[in-house]
Amino acid sequence: MEIRIQVPNVAGESERIQKPAGSSFPDSGSSQSPARAFLQSRRSSAFADRIFSAVILLCALCIFAIVALILYELVSGSRLSIDKFGVAFFFRSAWDPVNGDYGAFPFIYGTLVSSILALIIAVPLAVGVAVFLTEMCPGFLRAPLAFVTELLAAIPSVVYGLWAIFVLVPLLRDSVNPFLIRVLGWSGLFVEPNYGVGMFAGGVILAIMILPIVSSLTREVISAVPQAQREAALALGATRWEMIRMGVLRNARIGIVGAIILGLGRALGETMAVTMVIGNRPEISRSLLDLGYSMASVIANEFSEASDNLYLSALIEIGLALFIVTIVVNALARVLVWAVTRGAPVRGA
């Protein structure tokens, strides 16, 4: 609507505007309302504010302290192994507790490969779920579907592991893996022996476990895209898919990368379910169907049976390796986000 400003032209009216009838401006102290008297009696709260910011600052510093402490403990705990193997520990493939010969490479390899496998499987699925839920799902189905997706995140990982052993592994062994061997065998990634358990089973179970976090974060990001962007694409004659590609996913891509990184973080550290299906053999094999091992799994499996100090120290150094891998992957992901964002502008409108 247009704003019309009424200019008072009657003498009495202009007087009323300068000093509205019925209100006076008393000097402070004279005939105050209880509310005003109360408010004016309050002292400045600058001191409380300073206390508050100090407490908050302390909370924030705690995070740094915890990270630093963990790093310190990991390094000091693995002193023995660091002294014996040096940096080469991270690139050696030996794992022989009997002869006291240790190396972390098969575990690092297993963690990275199973996590990447999980992302390859989970990300398209998660983005698909998120797009369906935000853009195409009939209203009555939306809340139940979103709820069930998020429920997946609440299932304890040992339950995933059990389910994997009794359902997923037989399914992979009898149906999926033979098919993969037939179709993709030429690549060397899917060849006999086919045990059912192994790197691929670990990747699949991880994919199922990170699906909820990636899809619910992607859903948040997608619903934050302004409706005007969807309408802009539609008005140009976009079909629904084109509208989603041009008006939604394009605008949400940075947030989606963020969701993927969080999912990756979860996959790297996941222990129990992976331990139950990855096969637990510290060897590097080109075939994804072969047995593998991950950093978190070896710690969980062997910590209680580490019989001598060097064994224990090597396991702690594996923990250090996991810590470093997580930091490096996160840093790389930041760089990736930065690279994607650099060309892209700040969000307008």
């Binding site: 005007a228 309408e231 802009a232 008005a235 004659g237």
Partner: protein, 252 residues
Amino acid sequence: MGVGIEVSELNAWYGSNHTLQNINLRIPANHATALIGPSGCGKSTFVRCLNRMHETNPVGRVTGSVLIGQLDIYTQASPVEIRRRVGMVFQRPNPFPTMSIYDNVASGLRLNGYRNRVVLDEVVQRSLEQAALWEEVKDDLKKKSGASLSGGQQQRLCIARALAVDPEVMLMDEPASALDPVSTAKIEDLIFQLKSQYTIVIVTHNMQQAARVAENTGFFLNGRLVEFDATHKIFTNPRDKRTEDYITGRFG
């Protein structure tokens, strides 16, 4: 060249809310037609029915017929086909923020599979010139994003984006209401120049704007078209008492 629009017995609903009631209207080709009325009178819903955007709302529903040229858009074509022929500019500028200025303008053609770069370059330049934006952006067409422009420039970019697919009809839903007076004047100049080639339907809150740019004006009130006539008649000698009350500022 634009085509005329013939609307008959158009009704529209938002859920159970009957927002448009029995609208009958002929909009002439290659002229600007303004739609005025107070907030909530249904004028925006009306233009959204002309490119089938109303039905993208899950609770939106439409009955009646709309002929654009010879084509009945509700029975003879899909929404996607209609929207390629009927461009739209929205109240708030909505360029694609992750695309460059060039890509924004080219988006409509690319969407429909157009890949010829020479032609695209020409179309982008012509559209930006038509939208009076070319001189301001020609040096960083591919460097700057659509969102880096000022609000008025963004709206002209959106007009260029709509013009790039060479629509027969151009719908404008309060295209200047979020802009400052200088940008508003530019948009109005633009409408004035474009209306010889396109059929323009412009929704506006601003009655002076309607008087400045449009040959014909329709007055909406409570979901009904109260009066539709030549703009000078609406503003000097309206037939309906309610139109007169509105344009003289007695309500709204």
